[in-house]
């Protein structure tokens, strides 16, 4: 039972990944006929040099051949070469990975505080706490994250000077170990707070309605009748049942936060996936975009898979079906 459940979910994820690969390939190939021309325009390339480059970027042959080549390459873990500076896309992405993990991870953690708030608000539906926190979360939900970034940057970095205006660490910092971490933390705090503000509302709203959904359930009445404290009824009976929507939101949000970081990272010059995307789009640096797109999609697929499997743990009924 359990094994087939996992297998089924895995198969679904793999099929989606396959779709993304195909989609990714064609989307980008349709865009541009021959990027070599635009890349080396006017640079006195000989025909043979050009042919060489075309071959190197796998831009020769039929679309099908290109696709096969592309997939082969992917399987080898090779995402091709960036148009810019001829660097392997894998390197470009690898460099951007850690800053994004740091930023998105921390901001997600912060935003997840909204879950707790949402549960409490839903539990005391209609109370002052509920109305205040719900209003606040709708407010933050309504703000474009880059705008929050602009405003906070204006106040806390430009005016008050509490935070550096951007970057991952102090320029030329040679710090290592703890002081390096401290430095990065200091740089990360403001963009992380921006992202957290942008997403906390959604967590809170979803958690709240999941909680309200469970409020109707008979087992809460039973728990109370057993002589349980109200708080414990919420924590032990209501919350475990209100987890599913929150888990799936977290999975979906994962993609959103990563992409929402595009604007925020560029405002804060945070050298992560978001900024890499922004720069690649400006190019446009197709191999890098393709790689990023694949990476983000894969990350979201994996996040969804994890959420699906978590469902199985959180709600035993899911596995049975």
């Amino acid at each position: 039972m359990r094994a087939t459940f996992i297998l089924r979910k895995l198969a679904g994820a793999v099929s989606t990944l396959a779709f993304v690969v195909v989609f990714n390939f064609f989307l980008f190939r349709v865009v541009n006929k021959n990027p070599v021309d635009s890349m080396f325009r006017g640079r006195n390339l000989t025909a043979s040099q050009k042919a060489e480059l075309t071959r190197k970027f796998h831009l020769d042959g039929s679309k099908w051949d290109q696709f096969v080549g592309y997939v082969r390459q992917l399987l080898r873990g090779d995402l091709g070469l960036s148009f810019k500076g001829n660097r392997p896309v894998v390197d470009v992405i690898a460099e951007a990975l850690w800053p994004t993990i740091l930023l998105v991870g921390f901001s997600t953690l912060l935003a997840m505080l909204g879950i707790g708030l949402g549960y409490r608000a839903g539990w005391r539906r209609g109370s002052r706490f509920d109305t205040t926190s719900t209003s606040l979360s709708m407010l933050t939900y309504s703000m474009p994250e880059f705008w929050i970034g602009m405003v906070l940057l204006g106040i806390f970095a430009a005016k008050l000077g509490w935070f550096p205006v951007g970057g991952l660490e102090d320029p030329g910092s040679t710090a290592t170990g703890f002081s390096k971490l401290l430095d990065q933390f200091h740089h990360m705090l403001l963009p992380a707070i921006v992202l957290a503000i942008a997403y906390v509302g959604e967590y809170m709203i979803v958690a709240r309605s999941a909680m309200i959904e469970t409020l109707r359930e008979d087992y809460l009445q039973l728990a109370r009748a057993k002589g349980m404290r109200d708080d414990d009824v919420r924590r032990k009976h209501a919350v475990p049942n209100a987890r599913l929507p929150v888990v799936s939101l977290s999975a979906i949000n994962f993609g959103f936060v990563v992409s929402g970081a595009i604007a925020v990272e560029s405002i804060f010059s945070w050298p992560g996936i978001g900024q890499a995307t922004y720069i690649a789009i400006r190019g446009p640096d197709l191999p890098v975009l393709q790689g990023l797109f694949l990476l983000i999609s894969a990350a979201v697929i994996v996040a969804n898979l994890i959420a699906d499997l978590l469902y199985g743990r959180l709600d035993p009924r899911v596995v049975g079906r």
């Binding site: 021309d37 635009s38 325009r41 006017g42 640079r43 006195n44 390339l45 000989t46 025909a47 040099q49 050009k50 810019k84 500076g85 001829n86 660097r87 470009v92 460099e95 951007a96 953690l109 912060l110 505080l113 707790g116 940057l153 806390f156 970095a157 430009a158 008050l160 000077g161 509490w162 935070f163 550096p164 205006v165 951007g166 970057g167 991952l168 102090d170 320029p171 030329g172 040679t174 401290l182 933390f185 200091h186 705090l189 924590r235 032990k236 475990p240 560029s266 405002i267 804060f268 010059s269 050298p271 900024q275 890499a276 922004y278 720069i279 400006r282 190019g283 446009p284």
Partner: protein, 568 residues
Amino acid sequence: SGSSGGGTVTLTVGVTQDVDSPNVTVGYTVAAYELWNLQYATLTDKAADDFATIPGLASTWDASDDGLTYTYHLREGLKWSDGQPLTAEDVAWTVNTSRDQEWYNHSSVTANLDAVALDDVTVQITSAVPDPKLPTMDVYILPKHIWEGPAADDVTAFDALDGVGSGPFTLKEWKPGQEWTMVANPNYWQGQPKIDQVVFRVYTEGGAMVTALEKGELDAANDIPAELFADLGTQPNIVTVAGAQGGFTELAMNGMAGGIGDGHPALLDLNVRHAVAMAIDRQQLFDRVALGIGLPLTVLGVSPDQEWLPEIPDAEKLGYDPEAAKALLEDNGYKDTDGDGIREMPGGGEPLVFRYAERSEGTQGAAIRELITGWLKEVGIGTEVSVYDDTQLGDIIYAGTYDLFVWGWTPFVDPDPMLSYFTCDQVTYDADEAGYNDANWCSPEYDALYVQQNQELDHAKRVELVHEMIRMFNTQSTYVVLYHDADTQAYRTDRFTGWLQQPKGTGPVIFSNSSPTYFNLTPIESSGSDDGGLGTGALIAIIAGAVVLVGLIVFFAMRSRSSREDRE
């Protein structure tokens, strides 16, 4: 920032553009040129003040009588930053290989050259044709022992992160999208620089960069947004520089040389081009869009050296005169026959609606477009705007499928390259042989003049020829040069002294032609007081953040404890 934390003196420079590749055969961004300027010394140098050719790696050189051969004498004991000797062999290898492999950063200089190392310190360079650009050898000399290895067959694949060079600073680390760090080269032929390292920090947002400069996180910055430029100059300890390098912004009209592309037929009429030029208030563009930073010049910029620019008689200036523009159009049959405010071709028919390609990169495209399209409308010319990034815009230009576009150029020191772009050779007739002639205008007379100046060894005569070419180009109005841009830069005066403008008085301090500033900088002794330490604000912020973090951990820990309680 410019501190001596841990004993290292660091210069920090803010930029808005990253290096695309440290490999001289691949990179093309301005940032990459700055990197190479610092990392690779050249045979001859350019004087900081006036670009005069001065000794570089070569201390002296002799010319042959026919002016085709030069013999350069290298300094004794030159070394690469890794300690290997730098010899004539390196020079010969660089010149010959770059010519054979057509490295595009070298080939404009080395295309006709042949180099022979006569001994370790003597190299003889022969040109196939008379070349006024010699004896200047504006070529980055590469370390043969690094570059001829496995990289020789596939030189474009080389990551060039070796950091071996002969310039004052060499690349230590490149974090793409973030920063690149260059450290002092102890073997630099002029001696060890007085600062230990230069960090270039990349900002995606100009406003953020300016803030960082003001806060002292940076010592200098390039590409200051024009809106912030004036105010920045009034800040204590900050000096702003609007460095002129001859770069300009132009409105180009499709000349359709040889029937190329599908431009609007009206653009073939010189009267229409003149009317367009007169419809545009270039002074206003300079004042309102460039905010008066730069020069209100309307001639083709071919060099940072103003010597090359001719005086244009008022009659040829085609200054702002909408009435004259209207009259010119009216007189030549471009009348609004259907009363929609837009003129039609003589005898009715196709309206004068031009496709206007706006460049999305850079910050001024939108403002220029708004003004120009507005003014054109005033004289009865319509526009259809599309926005393209540089790649797409390039595609459109090379296909000739545009009517108008606005873009810009920055010339080299020698006017030759810029002038070459408007020869018939450079028109892109075949996408595989793309040329630089983006307005598709050319003429045999111009081409003849070009060949003349290219081989004219008499400087004064050559200046004459160049002036004539520029005026000829100007009267054609295929380019309406809007204004000459400036490199908006700023630096702090409280940490380093020795900032050099190249050329003196008008040029930029960094990202100049050969970037002499860096070697010239000296740290100010008293600086570095707040050496590497964090400000109080920063401390408050970190503490606040830490409290939040601890709070989070406690929160989640409590949650997990409470849920552990009821696990089996």
